[in-house]
């Protein structure tokens, strides 16, 4: 018994990387559980992202690309890896960092400092658009008015538009966001749980909004969150990892925990969920909302006014409840059918930070 354990210890002591078979294995790769060395990890991590970019033709030579940068691990690693790959494989891209300042003291101001350091470290020009400039309100002011309920709705709606507006100011052709495989798998599950077939059919596309002014893409679609953390850790990348003060428990959703549990017994489950999401037989004639433009601000909208304008109108008129909840818009009778969605909160994790799905 002891002998066997001894032999095992000796064996693990000299375990070599199963890819290069030269250096000592330093980590177990979360995606495949292969024991590999650091250098090989960097190599496969970057190479996989490169393959995703090439196979899906995410960028064209000469494209101006904005990287949605929050200062968190995903966007920091994305900025680092994209600028690396851009040099290495001559993508010919003009890369920019694009940050949204929600105006949250003690959270966003600190994370923006990180982004500003990244601007220097990676040599990428940074553009910051703020809620205050765009809408006249900071999140701090909004929370002061409406409290901690539904504040994530405001933030999410405003951020989506702010990012587009920032991208327009930078005159970029594309926006790349740091959504990772875990995020996408979670979204697939949430859309099943919510019964949202239209979003279910879109949420796995690597590029979205191609019919809109500025398409968005997710180069990390197949990249595991754990590997992103690992990459940032080993490369000692400078990133900010504090939770939003207005949504401290945002990461403790059921669905997220479920995915983590799945990953621990079958790492491949995350990729399988994404594959299922891509393969679902959804008939193409599923009704899609007709896209128009907001009469007030000109932003794309399926309604008369875009969501941001509705919310903003509520804030400015002192009626913050306006537009909250699942609004079905105006129906034929002109009756506003507003259904409050309660109780679904705790199944999802990233209400905040959600951009696209």
């Amino acid at each position: 018994m002891e002998e066997a354990a001894d032999a095992k210890a000796r064996k693990t002591g000299v375990r070599l990387c199963c890819l290069c078979d030269q250096r000592r294995a330093a980590l177990k790769r979360p995606k495949t559980l292969e024991q590999i060395c650091r250098e090989c990890f960097y190599k496969v991590f970057e190479e996989e992202i490169h393959q995703v970019i090439v196979e899906n033709q995410l960028f064209k030579p000469g494209d101006r690309v904005a990287i949605g940068a929050s200062g968190g691990k995903d966007s920091t690693v994305l900025a680092y890896v994209l600028s690396e790959l851009n040099h290495r494989h001559n993508y010919g891209l003009d890369l920019f960092l694009l940050s949204v300042d929600e105006g949250i003291t003690g959270y966003r101001d600190d994370s923006l400092e990180t982004v500003k350091r990244n601007e220097i470290q990676y040599g990428l020009p940074l553009k910051i658009v703020s809620y205050k400039d765009l809408y006249g309100w900071t999140m701090d002011e909004i929370v002061k008015m409406i409290g901690l309920k539904n504040n994530c709705t405001f933030c999410g709606v405003f951020r989506r538009q702010a990012l587009d507006r920032g991208a327009a100011l930078l005159k970029v052709d594309k926006v790349a966001t740091g959504h990772n495989a875990d995020d996408i798998a979670e979204t697939v599950l949430l859309n099943i749980l919510r019964g949202d077939i239209a979003r279910l059919s879109r949420c796995t596309s690597i590029t979205t909004g191609e019919d809109g002014p500025i398409p968005r893409c997710k180069p990390f679609k197949y990249t595991y969150e754990k590997e992103i953390v690992m990459y940032a850790y080993f490369k000692r990348l400078d990133y900010f990892s504090t939770e939003c003060i207005y949504s401290p428990n945002a990461y403790r959703g059921f669905a997220r925990e479920f995915i983590k549990d799945l990953e621990s017994i079958r790492p491949r489950a995350i990729l399988d969920i994404i594959k299922s999401g891509e393969d679902f037989r959804i008939s193409t004639n599923t009704k899609m909302p007709e896209q128009g433009t907001c009469e007030r601000c000109g932003y794309i909208s399926s309604q008369k006014w875009c969501k941001a304008c509705v919310l903003l109108e509520g804030l400015n008129r002192g009626l913050p409840k306006l537009g909250i909840g699942r609004s079905r818009g105006l129906d034929n009778d002109g009756r506003k059918d507003v259904k409050h969605s309660t109780g679904t909160k705790n199944i999802e994790s990233k209400q905040c930070g959600t951009l696209d799905f």
Binding site: V188, L189, N191, I192, L193, R194, G195, D196, I197, L200, F254, F258, D261, L262, I265, R266, R268, A269, L271, D272, I273, K275, S276, G277, E278, D279, F280, R281, I282, S283, T286, G343, T344, N346, I347
Partner: protein, 463 residues
Amino acid sequence: MACNSSNCQSNCYKNDEEQAEDSPSPAYRKSSTSINGQNNLCVKCKANEPISCASVGSGGDDTRFCYGCFRSNLYGKFRLSVTSHAMITPSDNVLVAFSGGPASSVALQFVHEMQHRALKNFEASKDRSLPVFGVGVAFIDESSVYPDASEKVDDAIKEMRLIVSKLAPPMKQLHVVPIENIYTSDSIDGKDRLTNLLNAVNDATGKEDLLLHLRMLALQKVASQNGYNRLIIGSCTSRIAAHVLTATVKGQGYSLSADIQYVDARWDVPVVLPLRDCTAQELNLLCRIDGLKTFQLLNNPPAGINGLVSSFVTLLQEENPSRECTIVRTAGKLTPFHFNRIPEINDCNVPLATRRRQKRYNLKTIESMTSESFCPLCNSPLSNSDLLSSSSLESCQSSRFVGACCSSCRFQILPKDSSSREHFYTSLPQQLVARMKYGSCDNSSSLRQQIQDCLLSDSEDES
């Protein structure tokens, strides 16, 4: 929110409730305000007392009905799925898959009631033009897989015989079939081969799923050997909701929509799910108050992925009691396959109303739903990516078999190294090997599909 979608045809009480919420009637108000009081009434008939929570030990929505309304609502859902999808017509001979669990107990009870009514109508009618459909019951004995449970199973079988014999008239035959019956050879050899087959699978989830496929194989075999032309499975909303999630997690998104429809005719004997709109909670409650005897033969909770999903669904259900319905409703919006329907009946023995109803509810054939290839192990339709990755050029048979399987089976069921893979292949029942041999494309059911309009009978008995 439970079943308020347009595709839920059940006369679901939740609809009533929501309408009541929109325009609160005095009666509704009365019942809702007195809900905590002593003399509250059934929300439907407003005449009888609802099922008391204390007496059945369960709270929740079901208990706002009186016993009569609860039962007729549940039976109504069953009957609507049966009639609107032509699951059972007078000339049919149906086999109820009976595990002893609450769902299949209710399925058996309801099928019996339906048959009993048909018999009464038959006896009362002058011309006796409508024959009464036949009913059989099948229990698959898995004690060779779980030897510890064999004593329990033997006792249960005795009781099952009693239960089935009480469900008469008309008489129903109980077929007790050991799972190793899927092998053509004698039973001892079958047992060994089954053990070898299951032992070759390393993944706990994969093993469980393989057993599930084998169970279906056994049911199909007993059904076709005994001249049944429908197989009734008691899968309920809760079960289907869990399947939606497990299939998604296993990467079976493409084939998922095949498994969750009312009708699944990709098998020799079409499979029907009349309890698709009933939740496990409702079925459990009915078993308790009707005193239906149920058996829990296996105490081992589901393993691996299946276990994680089932605890996840339980959690979701606690957070929102209609979550399972929503999940099934979402998956119901996925496009089904051509085999998810009973071919339209032109038999004049079948009442016109049934035929008309079937025309209304049956899936419309869509061009894109043409011939499919199937995984020889789990019989799920293969997606294009599966087909591309399958290599038919392999020389050895076991590798060819592996190549024909779906990616999910390849990962969780098929052994990775070639020697145990060979072992696995040789332990497979003949039918599974044959599925591959005849080429997945010219599978008999898809052949049937092409000549369907020229066939006069539903069953293949004559051939």
